[in-house]
Amino acid sequence: MRLDHTDQQLINHFQRHLPVSERPYLDMARQLGISEQEVIERLQSLQSRDVVGRVGPVFEHSQAGASLLAAVAAPEDQMDLVAARINRAPGVNHNYAREHTYNLWFVMTAPDNELLEEHLDELEQELKLPMLRLPMVEGYHIDLGFDIDWEALL
């Protein structure tokens, strides 16, 4: 999707530190040389076009609660069905098909490890598929924000 220059500037400048002030969108507007109303409308538009998922915090998983990367090996012809079942389990926030024998990869979150394991046990029993549970041992680079290479998208 092509974005205009102002949308690109919004993304370039505000992936990491949104102003924490009474009128944050006004502060952003002044930095970009547009009106507060336009900032709000552009953020709404970016969300409705599914370019921006939300405006807000990305929590540090290890401190915000429990989360775990897991993978299952689903039969190729049942991937959509298995993926839908995974999405129905509580706390699943990422779920991708990947090219491997373990072909569905998802992240499950829960308030604590005990609940997380419980939910994964239930899902594993329901799916009756081999499941890999891969907790993070150490994160070396975990900030999800990165600089967009707008040229490469042309």
Binding site: Q15, V20, V92
Partner: protein, 179 residues
């Protein structure tokens, strides 16, 4: 209970630590997981929904950022929509004694967007280092991977490239709120 629900580390609004409502902070966290309201005074809107004051909301968010509980606060971009359609998870079987150094080195590579150490699950899964490369097409990602292998002498390290071909779900973590 997680630290989010705890009020005792939050000196807010000049009041004594511990006076900010723990319940209000938990509500705030639940609300924030849905995103910041797109109204002129979003922190005031959050205050109304949580029973905190606007100042307490702002103090809490600032404090959580300083503590590292919020690792970033801003636009959460959906790269796939933008055209970053080639997303490869590259997994490596690195000798245990080298994994930390290699992970730290990879974290500094511009096109690597995530890098984690995870446990092996033998015999099915021998890989202990994960990195993510987001790119605009498969060829470009594979070229970046080739350069990574050459630059860090990884020719002898067993690896696998798992491109993702479909996102069934992609959203922020919800730890405090219910589905």
């Amino acid at each position: 209970m997680s630290r989010f629900a705890s009020a005792d580390h939050l000196p807010a609004n000049g009041s004594e630590p511990g006076t900010v409502s723990a319940w209000g902070l938990l509500r705030l966290r639940q609300q924030l997981e849905q995103g910041l309201p797109l109204v002129p005074r979003p922190y005031f809107a959050l205050a109304e929904r949580t029973g905190l004051s606007e100042q307490e909301v702002m103090n809490a968010i600032t404090q959580w950022q300083n503590d590292g509980l919020i690792k970033r606060f801003g636009l959460v971009v959906k790269h796939r929509t933008l055209g970053y359609t080639a997303n490869a998870m590259v997994v490596w079987n690195v000798p245990d004694g080298q994994v930390q150094a290699l992970g730290q080195a990879m974290a500094g590579v511009p096109f690597i967007t995530l890098c984690y150490q995870r446990p092996r699950r033998l015999p099915d899964w021998p890989y202990n280092l994960f990195c993510m490369i987001h790119g605009t097409n498969r060829e470009r990602v594979l070229a970046q991977l080739d350069s990574l292998i050459a630059d860090y002498n990884l020719q002898q390290i067993q690896h696998a490239v798992l491109f993702s071909n479909k996102a069934y779900r992609q959203r922020g973590g919800r730890y405090a709120s219910h589905d």
